[in-house]
Symmetry: C2
Subunit: 609 residues, 2 copies
């Protein structure tokens, strides 16, 4: 052990000999930059060693000038502790400070995007500067030593740098020089986070210099023409390569459309966007890339790939700046996709904060993730589209005109999105309606809508009607010249299926880890649905197990927030990849008593909330 | 410090606490594989820790199964020494053994090419194996965990793996899965080392499984149509982009032609070649890639790029297996290119062996490299094309019919390549002729060919003739019906210029490092010329400073040998890159007394050899 002292702070600590200076400094809480990962190739982890340094190593001779070495500048990833040392860490070598991510989820992250811009004042190259033009650019901008340029840029570089001396802006992505732009363009550097949903495609445009969202847009996935769920889309590709190509093009067009809408609103040009991140379920990821998803359509329901992928955006057909890259978050299992990894990041489930936390991302497919100490467990269950308003007689998306809240207090009180006349029922309204009908005994525990004669209150009795094919229904709103907005027996069965499926998965996950609902410190609900969900209704109906409603938090579209986090923080990108590998996937459908559990969970037996 | 014991060997040593196990094992002389560079992402550095292990770290949980961890398998790049440990290193985690490189330069290197093949027996995926198909392939082949596949391969993978279960061959390049081939193709894996010379283009086809050369071919660079030296070619590109493109296409066609010739002779298919390495001077590298070389044509004579480049071979226009990559060795300065880095590797000048060694790579441009302790110094000088037979009245390349040796012992004795009638004079013959004429006093110290009346021996006197424009010449061979093969006064001046230029550079480099010729432990001569050079003539003429002829060694085409070394050894590839960065470039032309030195060096004042 030797004493390491940080100057001018004066802070010091005993650290084991043999550690690199960078590792040792980390123990003092001082993180030193190392874009190359501490491999001794980028030269960015420079520190000033005032006392205790041995002779320079070959990598230091290669990356530092004799003048710099004479000053005491050293590479902290190379120098090892072997006695008492006094070290100063220049501001330029320190990790960027923490900033709170504005908007969305309140997860503090350092704004550290993959793509950055660097202003370079290029002097004319002198006779005693015989190095390559690219080196000259590197030196002038103090860029990392292991920076590399692609062939396309190298071909453009001679003409580009023809105007030197002058001001240039380097566009950097990790160890890549993506581009060199004339003049100072450092103020304009954007990225776009994308959520390719089975039904809805969303773009969030982010200013990479501040981490702020500057634009947002949503469109319907053009693939819906070919079927409303992933199984229908997978089946479409069985027909052949042309069909796979149809779905690929539809996905690409949907993404380009939503990107362009977000750009237009924010008055940002395609050329000013240098990075995209993408989440979606496994099937969407496959179709978007033109990779056959057939293996996801039959046992054992596996993807072709799980890992995070990155590639030039144009290679995937997305038009941004021509040098822009696309990063696709990793997947965990066939039906626990990149969207779930995004939601895990959004809810900090990648970290062990010492609290037991469960997250449910509710969509046509519902994914669950549980953080329990060092373990991260995930499972998924097909919830059905009821909560997205599909397969519900008067169902609709959570758009203007949708009933989002239902209260039955002697009479029927509705809250409609955007005010105005109700046009249909969205997921949260469906949940409320179900919960209220159970509370008033109009729907029994088995989910049966009572006959009018079984109901005592005449107000309810007159709303119980019979529709086509003798189907019982409860009128939520009478409308002039139109059939009434009514909740049918079949709708209630759909709600039961969805609720039963989700609840079964929650119970399964808790049981597998020996936990009770009371052990949970937090329950995060994610999804377009969850954003507007009434936790009391969810508890009353038994969608969630009985727990303190204060523990339930809504995180909105967690998948998209995760994509945005991966856009502005390389650290979270890595944490997402690590979480995807570490997560233990529990297969729910294969458990022997699944059917029994599911049947039980379908009953409307919630708490007394 | 703690005691680390290697079992079952029983070897042990004290190592500092805090080192990673992999670093500590290296101190015991046991190198553990780490394709990811010790980043904890590939999972290939597994060792069995029998005693002294702490709890697994997150990366280990992610990359090792619970069963493997229970066995004691750990990642040696993550686990740190913190007390006595007993460790076993499985054969699969050890670095490949050293083998002597057959043929060419006798530098022992481990056969460790960038591209390798791995046989995989793929079982059908079971229900309890819910991971992606790509993961299944990885697990089955025990491939590195951070392996990634490009989009093209991912698109082909579903159809490719359709035939599973079965036997497949994975084609791997570092962390990339390049391809998956049906059946066992592990026996066929080739690479090609390329030397793109200004005049001659050479290919050496190598079996990457054994490191052996299996084919060889040489063609004339098609660019010679546009000028015989690099300045002429650079000037051609001034005219515009079409001219740059002409030169690019000529280079690509020359390389493809020489590759195809080597393939045909060796009965290897293009599809069986997965990697190419390329050396050449900076101008050739620029032209081949279609990058304007104009900055090399004017002060301060700099390249656009110096670094090693790698890219898919097809991107540069070279047709091999469609997934093949091209690696271009780095450059040091504008006129010290990748060919010099190749020659440095061929002569082990990248290493400090404790001996002072100088290497001259003689071509139209001559580059010198000096290893002196930790320093590697390089310089270059324009030698002119005399030693390649150009600009010499009866000059020719070292091909059949060329006079390669000249002895004047009372009469003229010639040695002709391939026997038969002499057709011309190649570089080594020119050197011999010059040395002999000086020895016999027919050429004086200033390089003047004597008048016949100044010569006493009648045998020489009758050979001294006058050619067109009253130019004095010495007849080497009379030919029937043809003008005699004669060495002209102008030829001797060309020899003087070349010799003077090279010698100036040698003296300059020695002087800069305070060395005398006697301090040199070895002098390596590289180049097509050097291969046949008579060291006594070189010493006698003063091309080389006086030294023990036993210290002079010929290494042949060092640039090409270096390209071959970079093809079969990733370690040497890295060493080449490091050397290129570390090398100190000394600018000869800029030194104040250059002209004076040059004038002196032109005198034919060699040793008494």
């Amino acid at each position: 052990m030797s004493v390491l002292t940080l100057v001018p702070e004066g802070q010091s600590a005993e650290v084991p000999d043999g550690l690199t200076l960078r590792e040792a400094l980390a123990r003092l809480g001082t993180e030193v930059l190392a874009p190359c990962g501490g491999e001794g190739t980028c030269g960015k982890c420079r520190v000033l060693v005032h006392e205790g340094a041995a002779a320079p190593l070959p990598e230091e001779n290669a990356l530092l000038t004799p003048e710099q070495l004479a000053q005491g500048l050293r590479l902290s990833c190379r120098v090892r502790v072997a006695g008492p040392m006094q070290v100063e860490v220049p501001a330029s070598s320190r990790r960027p400070a923490m900033r709170i991510l504005p908007g969305g989820v309140n997860r503090p992250v350092p704004i550290d995007p993959a793509v950055t811009k660097e202003l370079i004042h290029l002097e004319a190259q002198k006779l005693d500067q015989p190095w390559a033009r690219l080196e000259h650019l590197r030196f002038s901008g103090e860029l990392r030593a292991d920076l590399r340029a692609d062939l396309d840029l190298l071909r453009r570089l001679p003409a580009l740098l023809d105007g030197e001396p002058g001001t240039f802006t380097a566009v950097l992505r990790e160890d890549r020089l993506l581009d060199v732009e004339r003049g100072d363009t450092t103020g304009r550097c954007f990225g776009v986070a994308l959520d390719l949903g089975t039904t809805t495609v969303v773009a969030s445009l982010v200013d990479l210099t501040s981490g702020r969202e500057v634009g947002h847009a949503a469109v319907v996935n053009r693939q819906t023409t070919y079927g409303h769920d992933v199984i229908a889309r997978i089946n479409h590709t069985i027909e052949g390569e042309a069909q796979l190509e149809e779905l690929r093009v539809a996905a690409v067009q949907s993404l380009q459309e939503v990107i362009d809408q977000a750009l237009e609103k924010a008055e940002v040009k395609r050329d000013e966007v240098y990075e995209a991140t993408l989440v979606g379920n496994s099937t969407m990821m496959h179709l978007f890339l033109g990779i056959s998803p057939l293996s996801l359509g039959h046992l054992p329901y596996v993807a072709m790939f799980n890992d995070a992928l990155e590639m030039p955006a144009h290679q995937a057909g997305i038009a941004l700046n021509p040098v822009a890259w696309l990063y696709m978050l990793p997947e965990i299992a066939g039906f626990v996709g990149a969207d779930t990894v995004g939601a895990i990041l959004a809810t900090s489930l990648d970290e062990d904060e010492g609290r037991i936390r469960l997250m449910a991302d509710i969509g046509t497919n519902c994914e669950l993730a549980l953080r329990h100490g060092k373990r991260l467990l995930v499972t998924s269950t097909p919830a059905g589209p009821a909560f997205e308003g599909a397969r519900i007689a008067c169902g609709m998306y959570a758009a203007p005109g949708a009933i989002e809240e239902v209260h039955l207090d002697g009479t029927v009180k509705l809250k409609v999105i955007g005010g105005g006349e109700p046009r249909g029922l969205c997921g949260s309204g469906l949940l409320d309606a179900g919960a209220e009908l159970v509370r008033h005994g109009i729907v029994d525990e088995t989910g049966r809508l009572l006959d009018p004669e079984e109901v005592q209150n005449p107000a309810w009795r007159e709303r119980l009607i019979e529709q086509e094919e003798e189907e019982r229904a409860l009128v939520l709103a009478w409308r002039e010249g139109e059939p009434p907005l009514a909740l049918t027996q079949r709708d209630i069965r759909e709600l039961q299926l969805a609720k039963g499926s989700i609840r079964t998965a929650i119970d399964f996950l808790l049981e597998k880890t020996g936990l009770t609902p009371d052990d949970l410190d937090e329950f995060c609900l994610a999804g377009g649905f969850g954003n507007y969900l009434d936790e009391h209704s969810a508890l009353r109906l038994g969608l969630l197990p009985a727990m303190d409603p204060k523990k339930i938090h809504f995180v909105g579209n967690g998948a998209l927030v995760g994509a945005r986090l991966a856009l502005i923080s390389r650290d979270l990108r890595q944490r997402g990849a690590l979480s995807a590998r570490q997560a233990e996937h529990l297969q729910l459908a294969g458990t022997p008593d699944f059917q029994m559990r599911f049947a039980e969970s379908m009953l409307f037996t919630g708490g007394a909330q």
